[in-house]
Symmetry: C2
């Protein structure tokens, strides 16, 4: 996926030196304003890469990640529209300029429902749906029972009336929040079966649970907490505990963390 001429030249040089061709798609900015060329500049960008003989244009791609500033389910269609419109503009202009597009790819979990019927997109890559999380719950994309990843933690202290402490913190949950202004997300996770509890703050190794109203909680209790953002949380552990129903089926090693290639470690 390319959106930058200098980066493209470096990859092209490496490809030519290695005697290989590298297929690429052009990243289109559909509103996230992160990677991506504007849809109306897709043809110019494709043209500027034409002379790079190590690179082969296969299509376009986008990620409408700005959907994560949606505050409720009814905000979602606007982001789907951004996604479809950006893709259509890029596809139409590139086809008009004579480019063949084998791949038209896009995806995010919250816009999937709308993008799946798009006439241009032929590869969808929503990612979060594998686990879902509290952020997906906040826009009604997932229900509690559709969230597959949760943190299992023990209540270890009840130092004052208003709060309890548990033995999981920012190094387990991450500090991800819903987008600013998303009032559905309170704190750093959703405590299953305890609507009276909010994960109000996190230190690295411990979390603070605030109580609103009354609670049956006591020190020693185990809690299952759905993290705000499963993508980050999944990466913070050395292994996941894979359960089916109430049974532990297997431990799943996590090996895609930064600098986690153990071959480099003496």
């Amino acid at each position: 996926r390319l959106d930058d001429i200098d980066g493209a030249k470096m990859i092209n040089k490496a490809a030519e030196e290695a005697g290989v061709k590298i297929n690429y798609t052009i990243i289109i900015d559909s509103g996230l304003n992160r990677f991506g060329v504007q849809p109306e500049k897709a043809v110019d960008f494709a043209n500027s890469l034409k002379e790079l003989r190590g690179l082969v244009l296969k299509g376009v791609s986008t990620h409408p990640g700005h959907v994560y500033s949606a505050q409720s389910h009814r905000d979602l269609p606007k982001y789907v529209e951004d996604e479809r419109t950006a893709i259509k503009k890029a596809v139409d202009s590139l086809k008009g300029a004579g480019y063949a597009l084998e791949i038209v790819s896009s995806g995010s979990t919250p816009t999937f429902f709308g993008a799946v019927t798009d006439e241009n997109i032929n590869i969808l890559h929503p990612g979060n749906y594998v686990f879902n999380d509290y952020i997906q719950m906040s826009t009604d994309i997932a229900t509690e029972s559709e969230c597959a990843l949760s943190v299992y933690t023990t209540v270890i202290s009840h130092p004052t009336e208003g709060h309890y402490m548990c033995d999981a913190g920012s190094k387990t949950f991450g500090l991800d929040k819903g987008a600013h202004g998303n009032a559905s997300i309170k704190g750093y996770g959703y405590v299953k079966g305890h609507p009276e509890l909010t994960v109000s703050s996190l230190s690295e190794e411990v979390g603070k649970l605030h109580v609103e109203g009354s609670t049956s909680l006591k020190v020693g209790d185990k809690l299952e907490i759905i993290p705000n953002h499963a993508c980050s949380s999944a990466n913070l552990t050395g292994y996941l505990i894979g359960c089916r129903g109430d049974n532990v089926e297997r431990l799943i090693k996590i090996d895609l963390r930064g600098n986690s290639t153990s071959k480099n470690v003496k």
Copy 2:
């Protein structure tokens, strides 16, 4: 370290079953309002644990972590005062009640300069100073050259005029910020040698660098970025690259992550 009678009873039971004694300190709340009994309740708490024969009181401890809401160096003495006052109250009352205190421990990196001269504290445990970070820089506790941990990242794209993308994101930096309102911390890290750059937002695997004014930055450049919070960042990688001067001396494996005990992984 104990602050909860129910937790103490569980530990006591386990100790008695194992036929061992467990030494403990009482956690005192010096203002962080996380763990800890109020200083004036230390004697009551010690008394309530007297009958637990598996537990042996060795002293008191605190962590004045609320210092991380300091906005500048001149705010720090207030937090040192909280730390010293809480410790003094607890120590005086416990000694007055006939308890011998072998350990009086406290510590945080920003309050160390004041706590080190305290007449009661005999064990100091500042932790962040091992690396220091942008949060320490924000209150002039550390200078740039005193920050030992930085993220080495490559500029991978320059999609529009105002920003560049690098190949390190929230899974490398963490999302830790200085306390709310701390105007010294901008973004998610301090880009060494590039005052014109702010790490303005993080996706999991990539970071967005905003430019104010002009920059010589180009795709392919390597950047060294001091993270906001070294404690979290150090934990996000599989290994650190230990350098002395300009030489890589050795790779340091990280093994204290959540669920990182590899003996459990098949």
